[in-house]
Symmetry: C2
């Protein structure tokens, strides 16, 4: 006799099967956030379709995708279910346990990017050591495994210390700037005591932040997008300006080449974001340092959806499937991306009305929303605006993004 549970399972299986065009590869994406959601947008147009491993059916990517597997990315069995029959497995985030990835690879799963590359996006100390070996510019850094390590580093860099959790930090979480050696020591004691592995690096005299994005295929093809300026507020990316204004051609080329080298040497596949600090050297010339790596589509690449022939989401899918990469030519002289971060309070004006107000003023504003509920500071979406003048384009994007979450103009 068929039980209710069997009947539901069987109906779901038929439903999931219907989500994929015969003969076309399935890409399994681990994670249900906006990055997976925007991959699905591109997959639809390419005639592919994703399978998403999601925490719930109403999560950002799960909302709009047909083949949703509910599960936990830390469960090997759930991962196995998600990748069954998929041509490639990729990620919306970097938190899948490395040992599970190794097991899946041993079982024949095509994991892109693989764990040897991913560890560099998961562990900041491993990444910095590896980049130093490659000759990539990184600020002075040290492992902090004791209070003694902390004191020694404080002395070595004259108190310009940025303390970081080696793993799990994002959007300003897991980063501390102690004002005194006492504060550093107290932080280190508390964090090490709580089992948080730490590193420290020298605070740089920041002029601005840049982001260099590149995609790489398992066969080794790489393609870089123009380097962008990224603006962070309280550790969260709030704007990206593409291409980075005033970045000289030589430095633009140098940074793109650096991103390609990192992708190649670390064996990254799919999209790679190399977040950089721009500083000024003793001769007054711009100088760059690598800050973070992300091995997936990245917030600083959202502008490519509306400012580039091939968006980072399409490119990521092509890359993980080892397909030839698409053109990264610009479609406008300048494109500005502004994040819509949940305001302190959710305004009474319904979201659809806010969109309409934005479009009345800026018919060129490309609003992207993630299907997420309000929470202060939460990334609810972004707005891209393309134009010819940097300041006018920036104003339009920032105004629009502000209105979306505040229901008033800045």
């Amino acid at each position: 006799m068929t039980t209710s549970a069997d009947a539901v399972a069987s109906a779901h299986a038929a439903f999931h099967d219907a989500a994929h065009a015969p003969g076309m590869p399935i890409v399994a994406v681990i994670g249900d956030g906006q990055l997976a959601r925007m991959m699905h947008t591109e997959a639809i147009e390419l005639g592919l379709s994703l399978r998403v491993l999601a925490g719930s059916h109403d999560a950002s990517a799960a909302q709009v995708t047909k083949d949703v597997q509910i599960g936990d990315y830390t469960s090997l069995d759930d991962l196995r279910r998600a990748v069954s029959g998929a041509a490639a497995m990729t990620f919306d985030h970097e938190h899948v346990p490395t040992e599970h990835l190794r097991t899946l690879i041993a079982e024949g799963v095509n994991v892109q990017p693989g764990p040897d590359a991913l560890v560099n996006a998961q562990d900041k100390l491993v990444m910095r050591k590896r980049l130093r070996e490659l000759g990539a510019p990184v600020p002075p850094f040290a492992a902090i495994e004791s209070v003694e390590d902390a004191r020694a580093f404080w002395q070595a860099v004259g108190g310009a210390v940025c303390l970081k959790a080696r793993r799990g930090g994002y959007d300003g979480h897991g980063v501390w700037f102690p004002d005194s050696e006492v504060e550093l020591v107290s932080l280190v004691e508390k964090l090490l005591g709580a089992g948080t592995p730490l590193m420290a690096e020298k605070k740089v005299a920041l002029v601005r932040e840049l982001s260099a994005m590149v995609a790489r295929t398992p066969s080794g093809e790489t393609k870089a997008w123009p380097v962008v300026e990224s603006v962070q507020t309280d550790g969260i990316c709030t704007q990206a300006i593409a291409p980075a204004p005033g970045l000289g051609d030589a430095l633009q080329q140098e940074v793109r080449a650096l991103a390609k080298t990192i992708a190649t040497e670390l064996g990254v596949t799919g999209a790679l974001a190399v977040e950089l600090f721009e500083t000024v050297d003793v001769a007054g010339q711009p100088e760059i340092y690598v800050n973070e790596l992300a091995m997936r589509p990245h917030n600083t690449g959202h502008w490519t959806q509306d400012g580039c022939v091939t968006s980072q989401f399409e490119q990521h899918l092509r890359a993980v499937l080892d397909y030839p990469l698409g053109s990264t030519e610009l479609t406008a002289p300048v494109t500005v991306m502004a994040n819509t971060l949940g305001a302190d309070e959710d305004p009474a004006m319904p979201m659809p009305q806010r969109m309409q107000e934005v479009w009345k003023r800026y018919p060129e504003a490309k609003i992207h929303l993630y299907g997420k509920g309000h929470r202060p500071g939460r990334k609810l979406g972004h707005v891209n605006v393309s134009g010819t003048d940097v300041e006018a384009t920036k104003k339009a994007a920032l105004d629009a993004a502000y209105f979306i979450v505040h229901a008033q103009w800045p």
Copy 2:
């Protein structure tokens, strides 16, 4: 006791509910083809999501959409189920029975476009009469309700007769070009005998075909895209070149204004395609005639996905929701769309490999596939290429589209 069927129904309902972000409107699309599929792409980015009334779960749009209602668009109950709770109802095709639309409107459903506008896209005779009233250029035409009507029209236009079924024709179906009065009479006897309402119009000396697309909101805002040249092969659109090469500014403006007038006067909402014939008048000047109307996104507007700030699919959604319309500025000097029509035989090379071959040669080719199985002549997808030179761009798009279905270069 819960039965298996109840359990499945309840699981599906929960699944469908999760497809829509709280506070965001649901757009119900009647039809499961590529137009609905590409609306879903844009809906995802806008933070909306569609509900699709589909014939099966593996249909083009149903494949990639979460809230799929299986049903028949000629069943009033199925339509009611599809539009329940939706902010607007719109269409992937023009075949929903008018009486059902009137019933739904009486029940409070927001049907866009409404039946009074739609009849002009459903019945060619009604449309031509209405356009003649508006002073829009149409070739001489007549209702054909008898053999006598047919003979009289043959004489009146000197044998230059194009016979058309008033309803249901598309892609060259329902259109005949009789070579003799005898052939015309025989066709008319057979078709009228089979219950097919007919009309005839004077064949024009065609220079080329054009398409003018415009979107209109219920509040009356209109926005036109640049007029394109469309190339038909055996009655099926195979290419669109945007903007139409060599169309003078004055004629470009005149045609755009004509499309806006038609949209306004007919009360069209959403996207409207005005398909036109370009001929030469007695003084050797270009002259235009309206051929067909389609009240939905249209094949001749697919180029807007990659060549325009706002695609026809996004604009259609904004229009049916009565939101302000987006910019229709070009993002490239020229964009060419080429359809991929199923070849006589499906080549052995798997589709993913064909895509890779195309991208090796043309990294700028934007491939759009509809998730459909092979059938000779079937629209399986399209390729958009943007560039600066018309001939080079056309070659790239046509080469790519040809390879996708033939697995060899033309």
